[in-house]
Symmetry: C2
Subunit: 341 residues, 2 copies
């Protein structure tokens, strides 16, 4: 089977964005603030929003299952305070939960956390556990920069993040390290901030001994690892200068890269440089780059085409498509096995 | 001939750093602040610092000439105010000027600017013109983030940068877009901040119409363009969504990538994806990654080896080594021609 590890609910009915806009307006005028119950989206609306978009493309492309989380750019953890993020994350995660119940063969949930710039990351744990225990989610998205492009949180190696990591290890869930929208005019959200965050997170791991403290912790670095595979020699050399072990030993039991790289040469580099066991298939469809590439007449984000065309052994392709994801997301593996898949 | 477009004076005699430390101490205790005349470095010391380091390696590797600027991580524009940066840039540029006079066949200068977070970029023009007119420098380094990792300056498309661009066009000098040390604990300087800045600067150009206002302005994006070539499909797709012209037309008359990518697969990707006319040879030797790669037993930063091994036609290799640099740095070309080179 083919598992896409990186999908967001980018096609939610407009009522969701309207609720969020009212929530934001409520920050300055509490009289217009909505309650969670004000959001009403029927199952039929949810079905339609998926069946005619993500699921349609999945079927066209031959993707069996997507690990599905709330829209990354809409997390916007920098808005309001913990209560704001808490209400918003709760609503967004519930929708992904409903999608995973409506299409149980095709979607598994991953949680957005109610992060907020001034809040202790530990405040996210109740929502994290609700998603994992009550909803059956198989992973989380962790935002290393809740300030939205101002980078005011400490690095991922800081002990303030440890309560999250303890819960990840306890529940055997990985985190995709994924920022949200940039409110810093220097950084275009999907063209700079996302890729920068991927590179930054990897380097925060490299300079630290985080995985000595958490030997089974697993991070997925999205968007093909930002700049990392392209500069793999630089990172190997920097690790050497910093007297760290070789990267395979130092990071590659814990860090995985997805395949959200939207052209053939990029995927060819990724699969040439990064050990196959550290690559998980993903497309982030429908996401940042929705168009058709005039050079190929195919969707930029149809990453399966690049994997198919890359010079890979059949068994390696299967690991990228399925085996690695089952290893990185053991709760997903358990759910699939329980269904005989 | 082979021109290395990206070298910094990382091996300056210790007196330089001592002067800088006194300057920084003087910010809180003016009684210890040094005057420029307090810095005394003899020609012999300068010769030795180059002959036994950069020039030695250049000869070993067969590099004829390096475009040489002050040490990037030491620019530290976030320290002090404009007067601080002004005195520091002046001293650092003078040293590079002296190097270019001591080794006129092997080094051409590029200027550090006296940028400062709160200062108008136009304040840099006197130093820029001194370097170009009096010293014969052939380019500048422009820091898109003088705040040192806090990204508080406006994007490069902002009109506040235009006075610099006007002078660049007038004097026919390109800018290498190069940040300095990161004082934000999220960003490792050479492992994250440098690469992020490269990606960020490219995207700032992509989302703007800067090169409509300055059709002959030229930027060199160092470190192989950060994440850009690896994600070239993403950038093509984003340009399409933003209704910009194709990247070749929109940016590639003005934007060039250097070859500071420290492994073979990275250089292979760069030369496969980016038009040859937009690639300029560089190594940033002696810089961020100084070690020997155990996989090849060669220096990571010996980028000529990767260019030699890349599947390139001889004429294309010559353009990367020399032809493109002469086009991007026309003042260098003129100096070389005047010497019959």
């Amino acid at each position: 089977m083919i598992i896409d590890c990186h999908g967001h609910y980018t096609t939610a009915p407009p009522a969701l964005e309207q609720w969020r806009n009212r929530q934001i307006a409520g920050l300055s005028d509490p009289s217009v603030a909505p309650s969670p119950a004000d959001l009403r989206i029927s199952d039929d609306e949810l079905r339609e929003s998926i069946a005619s978009h993500q699921l349609k493309r999945m079927v066209e492309r031959g993707i069996d299952l997507t690990i599905f989380s709330p829209r990354a750019s809409f997390m916007a953890h920098h808005i309001g305070d913990f209560a704001t993020s808490s209400a918003w994350a709760s609503i967004c995660n519930q929708l992904c939960h409903r999608i995973s119940r409506l299409f149980p063969d095709h979607f598994a949930g991953a949680a957005m956390l109610p992060q907020s710039p001034a809040a202790d990351p530990a405040t996210c744990i109740p929502e994290l556990e609700r998603c994992v225990i009550d909803y059956g989610f198989v992973g989380i998205n962790l935002n290393p920069d809740p300030s939205g492009g101002h980078w005011k949180a400490p690095p991922l190696s800081d002990r303030s993040w440890y309560p999250i990591y303890e819960k990840m290890v306890e529940h055997r869930i990985p985190a995709m390290i994924h920022v949200s929208t940039s409110c810093n005019p220097c950084f275009h959200t999907t063209g700079a901030h996302y890729l920068n965050a991927d590179t930054t997170a990897f380097m925060q791991c490299l300079t630290s001994d985080l995985f000595k403290d958490f030997p089974t912790l697993k991070f997925v670095i999205p968007h093909g690892g930002g700049a990392v595979p392209y500069h793999w020699g630089r990172f190997r050399g920097l690790a050497q200068e910093l007297k760290k072990p070789p990267l395979r030993e130092h990071l590659l039991k814990n860090v995985f890269f997805d395949t959200c790289v939207y052209h053939q040469p990029g995927i060819d580099l990724l699969t040439r440089v990064i050990p196959i066991d550290n690559i998980v298939f993903a497309s982030e469809m429908i996401g940042a780059v929705r168009g058709i590439d005039p050079e190929t007449s195919c969707y930029y984000d149809d990453t399966k085409r690049y994997i198919e065309a890359a010079p890979l052994a059949r068994a390696d392709r299967a690991r990228i498509y399925e085996g690695n994801a089952r290893r990185v997301y053991p709760r997903l593996d358990a759910q699939l096995r329980a269904k005989g898949r």
